[in-house]
Symmetry: C2
Subunit: 162 residues, 2 copies
């Protein structure tokens, strides 16, 4: 009898690093170019002590780096590491979804892409550059468990009980 342990999963792993309250909002600020504690606190609304522990965690996990910009009263700026920059798609996806399904009225934040158009991100397959609707992705393996590739009836694509 298998004990029900949670599914191994990169989404869960990601959330363990950036999934706590305020973490993503702090990262949003750094993406916006706001790199100092006070401003991040003010713009997110996070309380200072929580923000301190979140930033520390993000630094420990290599998402942010702390850079000294003034010695003596040592003062730091938080900057994005490579891993931090790689979160851009996550934030864009969340913003797009929020604009569409949560925020009422105009989107509070708007970007213009290099190409000149207002930015709306779209997710495509890296190999073929075509869109990836939910049903265009077949599971090869879920949570470490190989999926039968056979014709699973639509609507019940291999529930993966484990």
């Amino acid at each position: 009898m298998t004990v029900a342990r949670p599914r191994p999963c990169s989404i869960a792993n990601s959330l363990a690093v950036i999934g706590e309250r305020w973490s993503l909002l702090a990262l949003r600020e750094v993406f916006f170019g706001v790199r100092r504690f006070d401003r991040i606190a003010a713009n997110t609304g996070a309380s200072r002590d929580i923000l301190t522990t979140r930033l520390k965690k993000l630094v420990e996990n290599g998402v942010l780096a702390k850079e000294l910009y003034q010695a003596h009263p040592p003062r730091y700026e938080y900057t994005l590491t490579e891993a931090g920059l790689a979160l851009h798609p996550v934030l864009l996806a969340l913003k797009e979804w929020g604009d569409h399904y949560v925020t009422e009225g105009e989107a509070p934040t708007v970007f213009r892409h290099d190409c000149g158009a207002v930015l709306h991100p779209r997710t495509v397959c890296d190999a073929c550059s075509r869109p990836v609707p939910p049903d265009s992705a077949r599971a090869v393996r879920i949570g470490g468990v190989p999926q039968r590739s056979a014709a699973d009836s639509p609507g019940a694509p291999s529930p993966t009980d484990t």
Copy 2:
């Protein structure tokens, strides 16, 4: 003197709906085809009471729908609404980031795209279909505040103090 109120932001709005612990993992399960309470609880590791309130909230916010599949002992399945399906890019982005920067070893979950290749999502501009690196997006407006369109060097794109 402006009182520091948190920035209006669709990312924050999104997180208010799906940002609590377990919410995204529950949604992941529904995307995987796991639609019933017990299985979702087992596969995520969430405790039942928390899962109850999370699912209720997701239903209230129109991300999931509850469908009766058996009367009498009334039993429900949770299915994705249009808004729920639209979260696919968010989950893909989180999975991709986790695979890359958090999970050690092989990715626990792998999808194959319709095109035949193993799925790696990429985010592109909907208008020009080109990639969207962090510095290719210029702020038109952030948190409701218009940005000066002048040449802000990347990395310091108008700190938006509000």
